[in-house]
Symmetry: C2
Subunit: 312 residues, 2 copies
Amino acid sequence: MYSVGVDIGGTGVQAGVVNKDGKILFRKECFTNVDSGFERVMDDINNLVRDLLKENNLEIENIESIGFGVPSFINKKGLVTCVNLGWYEVDFMRALNNRFKESKVYAENDATVAAVAEAKFGSMKNKDIAVMYTLGTGVGGGIIINGKSITGAHGMGSEMGHTIIGENYFNCNCGNNGCLESFCSATAIIKHAQKLINEGNESIILDMVNGNVEQINAKMIFDAFRKNDEVAVLTINRFKSYLAKAMANMINILDPDVISIGGGVSRASDIILDGLEDLTRDYILYKKEEFANIVCATLGAHAGIIGAAFLR
Amino acid sequence: MYSVGVDIGGTGVQAGVVNKDGKILFRKECFTNVDSGFERVMDDINNLVRDLLKENNLEIENIESIGFGVPSFINKKGLVTCVNLGWYEVDFMRALNNRFKESKVYAENDATVAAVAEAKFGSMKNKDIAVMYTLGTGVGGGIIINGKSITGAHGMGSEMGHTIIGENYFNCNCGNNGCLESFCSATAIIKHAQKLINEGNESIILDMVNGNVEQINAKMIFDAFRKNDEVAVLTINRFKSYLAKAMANMINILDPDVISIGGGVSRASDIILDGLEDLTRDYILYKKEEFANIVCATLGAHAGIIGAAFLR
């Protein structure tokens, strides 16, 4: 039997038909027309899913479940607030249930969805305690214990990106100072490289953007790191030092079997993982003990569809 | 049917016979003769338990289980390292099993044991996700999910005292900087008050110790806080600000139903809880949502025996 997974993002929505082995058989996508408002976006998603099924001669009644990943948290009443989508306390779960009356529908935060996928078919397969960090524009998180996602008593857990792990030279978007996200997101890395360059440090990154620091992206910084560019080395080392603190904090709290790092930043997995275990060991309490394997995610962008299809 | 709970501390060992309602029926204690070495201390514990049973006409065969709380972590091999007891990788579980062949024996870190007790009979009763912080000389932690203690894949979890939550003016005993324990233990509070006094700030605390700052204890600081002493107010406010960050970090990660604060420091529960919820709300991501009740532990020093008796 097949399930459908839908990955709702700020720019596009991806839907896929997934078999029980976690393989995406058919895929379809559409733009997220944020300006058209919540109900219209939900109509588009409805059409996307139904077109995907129709084009592949599948009946919605024969689909086991339809799961949705959203770039936000869903509270216990089913309400979603998501600045990127322009949604403020919209009744997301009701909107889904109204449109997909024939199906079982489930929804979770997108980082939790990615963690579900990685725990079932990817880098965290067959592990009892599995924790995922998604490092992208922001930092998300997912916690899976014995195959079940842990989102807490009020649905707002596994937001490790906003745990406070130090003091930073700027405040996080959430208003606090020292959040993991403000040290380890792509945004944070870019901001730090820009800062060093603006302070007068020379860097080949500046050549990559023809002198326009606003054009710097995370990939350029990792590329420059490979060429031993000083700004890049300082930036990536700082990033890894705080990432290690975050890994150690999680080990000191949940002591997982595995921690997986996903999201756009994790494409530079060789740089991220190099020496990260030793850095982490310095920050944990029981330094002589075996601790979680720290790995990078393996399902890439597909994790959103696959994980959503396996929400239960 | 009864169980036995044994609370092993650096100065004394307390054992109790506990009924299924969590009531301590009989109690007995002995000194922890640390200098005599591990095997001798274990012999003393063996005698303590057997004397306790004999004096109350109970047969060890009729006891459901004997549980032990230790001020340390027990690794998956059953080895314990505990500086306070002078134990370095001693085979604790084997030593227990050798001495209590007739019984089922269980052992856990003492903060986890306290959490088990509070979750079963005290401040965290009937809650699915319950987290405890014990604030004493150090800071310990216990996590209970659906009635089961979570100590991680390698047994070293729930050490929230050593999660890094900021930058501090001195390093933690564990060697790192910025651990919760270095902000929120009794030791940390005392150190901060001493610092302010040594910097020349006037304080009634100094009168309480006849000018000898080495004699300051946490109770004096809370007492001085009640009298609006400036050093005490600065110290307690700093303590509460970091405690709120720790609460918020836990809410952002596990989003518990309840967080309970125990340990010696929690005796000043009125001061600790006053305004703590609002301080915590500032640091969580979803500030408009309902979040964990933050309470103080209710079982006091008995939690060690009661929790140990209910380890399974």
